[in-house]
Symmetry: C2
Subunit: 149 residues, 2 copies
């Protein structure tokens, strides 16, 4: 998760959305791939942090024995991708984004579990602090990223 | 759907996976964007036809009033993306891929409908014929694309 947060910070420092992801083989410290949200940097709506990471990993026969680390609970696109790719395990830094109050983002932990994905939620203060800092001046960008307007 | 099938044919002619997609505003003939599967062409596992199309459309505030046409029923990644992006309507050429018999691909029509997406299924002979032709010599590639091995 430390490396996923570093990816989120890298995106934030480039005026992007601070969500980072790492794919790793279980019990190995060196990641298979890393990535971060690229909506701003590449003007690309499908490259959430998780998707960018999987794109960077390239074509694979399977994802057995891997874990995806993400700083923020996956949206429906990314959760669907985890299920489709049969990634068996995911570790999530931040559970949800409660602001604005009328458009809360609650992620898809229940969906992932219902499809057999092992989910571990860290409630990581570092992930939460970076995202709160981002939201201070970028609420419109955040809402665009989750399809709210 | 004719334009989505032309995208699928274009991918097939480049030795790629023949799934094509078109995003259009309702009642307009000129598409907002087109795309096709790019697993082979770009060595990219996330660029299914629907995802490539949405990437090509770039950043958007919303997808109100749009319909996504796809030659093959969307996988869980693409179905999740349609829900996340709040695309209200989808038209599907081919419902499912029944071979190999032990690894049928049934798409996600029920999931889409359960999330409020309007789904129209065409059972289009042109889409089905092209995909059947592709499967004759590319079963391994197809199974890789749906995460089966």
């Amino acid at each position: 998760m430390r490396q996923a947060l570093a990816q989120a910070q890298k995106s934030y420092d480039a005026n992007g959305i601070p969500v980072g992801a790492v794919l790793a083989r279980n019990n190995e410290r060196t990641p298979l791939a890393v990535g971060h949200n690229q909506r701003v940097q590449k003007e690309n709506p499908i490259l959430h942090g998780e998707m960018d990471c999987l794109q960077n990993y390239g074509r694979q026969k399977n994802y057995r024995g891997t874990t995806l680390y993400t700083t923020l609970s996956p949206c429906m696109m990314c959760a669907g991708t985890v299920v489709q790719f049969k990634i068996p395990s995911i570790v999530i830094g931040q559970k949800e984004v409660r602001v604005p109050a009328d458009k809360p983002f609650t992620g898809n932990i229940d969906f992932l579990r219902s499809r057999g994905v092992e989910v571990r939620l860290l409630n990581d203060p570092g992930c939460e602090a970076l995202f709160a800092e981002f939201l201070k001046n970028n609420m419109d960008l955040w809402l665009e990223d989750i399809g709210e307007d």
